[in-house]
Symmetry: C2
Amino acid sequence: MRRLEIIAVEGLPEVRPGDRLAPMVAACAALVDGDVVVVTQKVVSKAEGRMVAVDPDDPAAYAAVVAAESVRVLRRRGDLVISETASGFVCANAGIDRSNVPDGYVTLLPVDADRSARRIRDGLRAAPGVEVGVIVSDTFGRTWRQGVTDVAIGCAGIAAILDLRGTSDALGRPLEVTEVAVADELASAAELVMGKATGVAAAVIRGVDPSWFRDASVRAEIVRPPAEDLFR
Amino acid sequence: MRRLEIIAVEGLPEVRPGDRLAPMVAACAALVDGDVVVVTQKVVSKAEGRMVAVDPDDPAAYAAVVAAESVRVLRRRGDLVISETASGFVCANAGIDRSNVPDGYVTLLPVDADRSARRIRDGLRAAPGVEVGVIVSDTFGRTWRQGVTDVAIGCAGIAAILDLRGTSDALGRPLEVTEVAVADELASAAELVMGKATGVAAAVIRGVDPSWFRDASVRAEIVRPPAEDLFR
C-alpha cells in the first residue's frame, strides 16, 4: 500500500547569517536515502543573510523594501502589494515578512532558492552522506481562494513538475491533466506538521515515489512565463 | 515528534451512479477515529450521477456543457475556458473532465461538495462507526504557477481554514499570516499517494492535529467573495 510519512524536524536552533543548514537539519532528523527535506524560506533567508533592518514604525521604509524587491506590481490594496519578484514569483509584499524574525528586521526571499536547495542537498550528501531531495518552501496566498498554503520556491534532486504527458488514465485514454506540481504538494504536506506559531522550520517526507528524484528547478519548471499567463 | 501518515486507499471498485461511497471506502481502508479521508471529485461525481453524455468528437457540445456549468467566464484561450462555477470555484472548463470517465461521458462537479463530504462522513459514522474528517478534492491549475495541484472543494468535520488570528509567532509577536487553508494542504498531501494514472481515488491522512476537527465548509471559508478578489 502506497504510504508517505511527514515528520516534523524539531529542535532546530535559531538560525543566524552564515549558518550552514545541512548539518543543523541532519542533527535534528535521522535522514535516510530517498527522503525529501522541506526547509522554510525563513530559515534559508536567515542563513543566507537575506535580512534587512526596517523600522517597524515606518511604513514608508517597509514599502521601499517591498518596491526594491519587486520587478512589477500587479495589484495594490491598502498596505498590501501583490508583486512579481526577480525570480518570477508573484506574491504578497514580494515575499518579505516579519514573523519569526527579530524586531526591527524583515527577511527577503533567497536570491536563488533553487541554488539554496542545491546547497543544502550537497551538504547532506557530504554528511551524513544521504541522497535526498530538498525543497525550500514559502507561504503564499492565491487568487480566488482564501487562506494561504505553502508552495515550493526552490528545489534540488526532486521534481518540481511531474510530467505525465503520454500517460494513460486507468481506462487507457490519454490523461487530460498532465503536469502535476508535486514540489508544491510536498511543500503543502510539510506545512501540515510545521504550523506557523511553533517555530518548526523543516520537515522530512519519507516514502516519495523513487521516480520523482531528478535534477529539477522551481524557477524553470513552475514559474509561468509572463507571456503565457492569463492573469498578469 | 509530530508526524502524519498519508495512506492510499487501494482496491476501490469502479463507482457507479447511486453507489454509496462511505461503505466502499471503509471496505478498503482500516479507518480509525481522527483520520481524515480525502475522496476525489471524480468518484463523488460518479456516485452522485453528475455525469453527462458528450460526443467526444463534437467540441461545440463540450463547450455547451462548460457554458452551462459556468456563471461567469474569466478568460478564454483556444479551447481553454477559465470560469466560475455556481459554487464559486474558479477553474478550467468549470471543473468538467473526461479522464477516468467512460468514453462519451464527462463528469461535472458535485452540486454541493460540502454536502457530499458530509454525506460520506455521516455514512462512516454510522458504519464502521468512526469519527473522521472528510475532504472532497479536485485538481485545479493556478495563476502564475505552472502545473496543477489538488485542492479541497468540499469538507466535513475538518477545518477548511485554520484561523490563527490572535496567535503569536515563536518570538511572541502577532503572526502576519493568520489564515491557513489546511483543507487544501490536506488535499495536496493526499494527491501525492494517488497519482493521476493509477485510478487511486481516495487516501487517508492519519495524525492530523485534533484541534482541526470541527464543522466546516470549503464554500463558506475558502471561496473568496468576488467583491474581495483582486483578480476577477
